[in-house]
Amino acid sequence: MGDRVLVVEDDERLGRQVRDSLAEAGYEPIWLRDGKAVGTELAAGASLIVLDLMLPGEHGLDVLKRLRRDSDVPVLVLSARNETADKVRALKLGADDYVTKPFWPDELLARVAARLRRPTLQRDATVRVGELAVDLEQRRVALAGETVDLTRVEFDLLAALARRLGAAVSRAWLAEHVLNPDREGGERTLDVHMSRLRKKLGPAASAIATVWGVGYRLEPPSR
């Protein structure tokens, strides 16, 4: 079973939709229609709380204030009033993120996933994508157990992508942080290094995607 997500939403239709899409995405949603129902025990058992602000009985911000007294559970605020003051207050009271209505179910899921993923971000020293293993501490790359001989720049390039597995890294960032600006600068040089790296990685190189207009991305292994 996936992470338990508390959904506090008074509107029947929206509440049901949010609950269903969370369930479909593999989470374990618990839907509450009233802010008063959010107790310490429920909060303690949840990995994340999706909290609407305009609630009958107790306002979302008051629920948040009460929650923060004894809980660190991440809170994602749903706001219909696209007001800066509301967002700033919610963040000050300890909310972690907010989503403004109208939102797409996928948008909400992306925000939820981002919140739940963050704390466990790449603790391992070795990043594995299929047969490719990048040991960030030992500065070693292996393909199906066989060490691949990489130059410093090639390794740094791969390591930069591995450190942010699944996220695109811009060419400008790579050029600035990976290349030696005195000798090698320039994004053209970056492409040369990348093509050499890809050649050395063989079929495993397909995990490194060229992202149009952005740069490169190391694709995570598909589930």
């Binding site: 993120d97 109208p102 179910p105 992306a110």
Partner: protein, 477 residues
């Protein structure tokens, strides 16, 4: 001209002719008195034996004493001028009398002629005629009798020294004038001071949007002015608050309406999403569902843009808070990925690791960036790309670029992107219902934040929009 200068000038302009008039009146009165005295003296002397003496010896009558001095009997008679026909010590002796018959002919050949104006006056029937000449006054009187050589008697008296305006009188008049000036100065001082104080009060009151009334001390015209100003201020204030109230009502109405629409719109987007998932990408309804998704998204962003526009046009100061551009880009990406996928456009992005802080109104900046991204998706075609890249531009700035490989915007029209209600020809063709609001809000938001928004061509085709602005370091937060 100040009030005090005006008062003094008025005083000088009125006092000078008044003083001259008074001096003239004085000399006129003096002369009249002299004439009367001379006439009375002539009449009295003629009455007291003068007539008899005159008629006895009319030749010697007027010039007796004069003759006695001359004593030249042989010399031919010479008509002496009037100024010499006077006593040697004029001040203390009565003036010499000169006798004429009814046709103004003197019996004495040395007697001066009676001047024409006097003759005319007497001939007209007047009893007395007077004439100023040779520094004195000449008076001719018709006697109560009409016969003989002494029917008309004249006398000349030089002006006494006091007749001219004495210096002391001038000094006195000047002193009086100076006194008046000083009085005006002193009297106007408190008035001027009060008017100046009132002017300061009015300025202060206006600066406080007429919330502060001006002081109404005293009971004179200045107080009246202050009271009138306070009344006007109350009117203005009432009007102002009415306008403000109306504006606030309108804002609340827009906010409430927006809020009421957002919930069903979210539900609608959920339904569309579910339907698309149900039919799959190859379903027969997919094109319609994708279009529905785009329209629903457009309605949502239009409402947010209207709210942003009312916020920008209200002229209220920005709410400035530290904001993380990286997190903002992530939110914008999550929001637009569903519409991008519905449109078949690949939307990708890169942000630096960790937060990238700047300062601003997060709602407005997010809306601006969202508009640029939505624009890139909306004007692209299936199979196209949109790339959003946030980078550090040195230690001091951030740079966000949104590039697409859509049709792009011709150079001539690119400069006008972001102008209110400007739409490219291509946009008008593909989305005839649009307002061109999105980019103009992006431009306004950038301008209000001191950010730079630039439009450039993306090679080989497409548009590249760059937003850059200052960073604030994490320590200052």
């Amino acid at each position: 001209m100040t009030l005090r200068r005006r008062l003094i000038l008025t005083l000088v302009l009125t006092a000078a002719p008044l003083l001259a008039g008074l001096l003239w009146l004085r000399s006129e009165l003096l002369q009249r008195t002299m004439e009367d005295a001379l006439r009375d003296s002539i009449l009295a002397r003629m009455d007291a034996g003068g007539r008899e003496r005159c008629e006895q010896d009319p030749v010697a009558f007027g010039s007796r004493r004069f003759r006695r001095r001359e004593r030249d009997e042989t010399a031919p008679p010479v008509r002496a001028p009037w100024s010499e026909r006077r006593s040697a010590r004029t001040r203390f002796l009565p003036p010499l009398l000169q006798a004429y018959d009814r046709s103004f002919q003197p019996a004495d050949p040395t007697a001066p002629e009676l001047p024409e104006p006097l003759r005319a006056t007497l001939a007209a029937g007047d009893e007395t005629a007077a004439l100023r000449r040779d520094g004195g006054v000449l008076v001719a009187v018709r006697m109560p009798w009409d016969e003989g050589p002494c029917a008309v008697v004249a006398a000349f008296r030089p002006d006494p020294p006091t007749f001219d305006t004495p210096p002391s009188l001038l000094v006195g008049a000047l002193a009086l004038c100076a006194g008046f000036l000083a009085a005006v100065w002193l009297a106007s001082s408190p008035v001027v001071r009060r008017i100046r104080a009132l002017a300061d009060d009015v300025r202060r009151s206006a600066a406080a949007r007429y919330a502060e009334p001006v002081r109404e001390a005293g009971s004179d015209e200045v107080t009246l002015l202050a009271r009138a100003f306070n009344e006007a201020g109350r009117e203005v204030r009432a009007h102002l608050s009415e306008v403000e109230e109306r504006e606030a009502t309108l804002r609340t109405f827009v906010a409430n309406t927006t809020h009421d629409v957002m919930l069903p719109l979210t539900v609608l987007q959920g339904h569309i999403s579910n339907l698309r998932r149900g039919t799959g990408a190859s379903g027969a309804d997919e094109p319609q569902l994708a279009a529905a998704a785009e329209e629903a998204h457009y309605i949502g962003s239009l409402l947010q843009n209207l709210a942003a526009a009312s916020k920008l046009e209200g002229g209220r100061p920005l709410e400035r808070h530290p904001l993380d551009m990286a997190a903002l880009v992530e939110r914008v990406m999550a929001r637009h990925r569903p519409v991008a996928s519905a449109a078949g456009v690949a939307l990708d992005h890169a942000v630096p690791e960790g937060a990238l802080w700047t300062e601003g109104d997060v709602t407005l900046v997010e809306q601006a960036v969202g508009n640029v991204v939505h624009n890139a998706i909306r004007h692209n075609r299936a199979g196209g790309h949109v790339a959003v890249v946030l980078d550090e531009a040195g230690k001091e700035a951030f740079r966000l670029s949104v590039a697409d490989d859509g049709p792009g915007v011709p150079e001539g029209q690119r400069d006008r992107l972001g102008e209110p209600r400007f739409r490219t020809d291509e946009a008008r063709q593909r989305h005839p219902d649009g307002l061109g609001l999105g980019l103009s809000i992006a431009r306004d938001v950038a301008a209000r934040h001191g950010f730079t928004l630039r439009f450039a061509a993306n090679e080989p085709h497409g548009l590249r929009v760059e937003l850059s602005g200052p960073r604030v370091s994490a320590e200052t937060l």
